[in-house]
């Protein structure tokens, strides 16, 4: 999730948005990995159910894009560091119920103290 988060950042999360089903496109969330239930990762939601998401299949070799419609009850997550992120481009759409909470604030270190918005900074 570079450059949004760097090693050592401490963030503030809230569960109200995820519990009430209001997680939308652009939110940064903590989500339990479908591959390993003991691992919780931070990713940005790029699409919710019904959205069309386009992504580049093979960034190094070609510009070919693939478009996917996110099925009901799922979300499409991507890391902000596109080159080095294991996310929905490999895993596919992830069930919404795996979303644990939404990250909305960075609290440490003090120079990084800021709100997390909907756009990649």
């Amino acid at each position: 999730m570079f450059p949004t988060f760097k090693d050592g950042n401490i963030v503030l999360t809230e569960r109200i948005t995820s519990r009430s089903g209001r997680v939308g496109s652009g939110d940064v969330v903590l989500i339990r990995s479908p591959d390993n239930p003991r691992k919780v990762v931070a990713k940005r939601v790029k699409g919710i159910e019904g959205d069309e998401v386009s992504y580049v299949l093979d960034p190094k070799n070609s510009d070919e894009q693939k478009t996917v419609v996110v099925p009901k009850g799922h979300v499409w997550i991507e890391g902000d560091n596109i080159q080095n992120s294991y996310d929905s481009r490999q895993l596919g759409p992830v069930p919404y119920a795996l979303v644990q909470s939404r990250i909305f604030f960075v609290v440490w270190p003090p120079k990084d103290f800021r709100l997390i918005g909907n756009e990649v900074s």
């Binding site: 479908p34 591959d35 009850g73 759409p93 069930p95």
Partner: protein, 194 residues
């Protein structure tokens, strides 16, 4: 005659009890009603001869298993649902009858863990991916389970059913044995057999 002091202390007591109850229900164990007969005869057994009013089973769901997400084949688990990706012809039917709400919880039995192979009559052999499990209802004829929506991520599980607590004549443990369905055959992989 309720005075403000009395009301305030009563409110504090209820609030404390509520917090403690919520913590226990979240982290240790809670009770849940089982709807439907997809887990007959283990839960909500269907009795054709009975004309009396049939009650739903209430079960004890333990949440200690969520600390390490350590499950075994044969565990009856409660999990949040995800809709099926709708890949084939029957996807319309699935949309109508399958869980589509992330808030809905289902109760089924784990038939296979990551790495196991599932034989289905209609499809070829399916390998259960890492971090997922294959769930099957005990009443195979009328159960929406992994045969319809595929393997589910273990992260969706929110508890394990250990006991039936209501109605009183059915109080007892829920066993961990899988009755092998003829159409679902499981090839157990070495990594996870214990």
């Amino acid at each position: 005659m309720a005075t403000p002091n009395f009301l305030w202390s009563l409110a504090k007591k209820y609030f404390t009890a509520g917090l403690i109850g919520l913590t226990i229900s979240d982290r240790y164990a809670s009770f849940m009603a089982v709807r439907g007969s997809s887990m007959s005869p283990t839960l909500n057994p269907y009795n054709e001869n009975s004309t009396a009013f049939v009650l739903d089973d209430y079960v004890l769901v333990e949440k200690l298993c969520l600390q390490r997400y350590k499950f075994s084949r044969g565990d009856v688990v409660v999990f949040r649902s995800s809709s099926p990706p709708g890949l084939d012809v029957a996807s319309l039917l699935k949309e109508l009858s399958s869980p589509s709400n992330y808030k809905e919880k289902n109760v089924k039995r784990i038939a296979a863990m990551p790495g196991d192979w599932i034989h289905l009559p209609s499809l070829d052999t399916v390998r259960v991916p890492e971090g997922h499990c294959w769930v099957v209802g005990d009443n195979a004829a009328c159960s929406m389970d992994s045969r319809s929506f595929g393997p589910i991520p273990l992260g969706l599980i929110c508890g394990r059913v250990t006991h039936v607590v209501w109605p009183p004549q059915r109080i007892g443990g829920v066993n961990s044995k899988i009755s092998m369905l003829p159409e679902v055959q499981v090839l157990v992989s070495e990594e996870h057999s214990h």
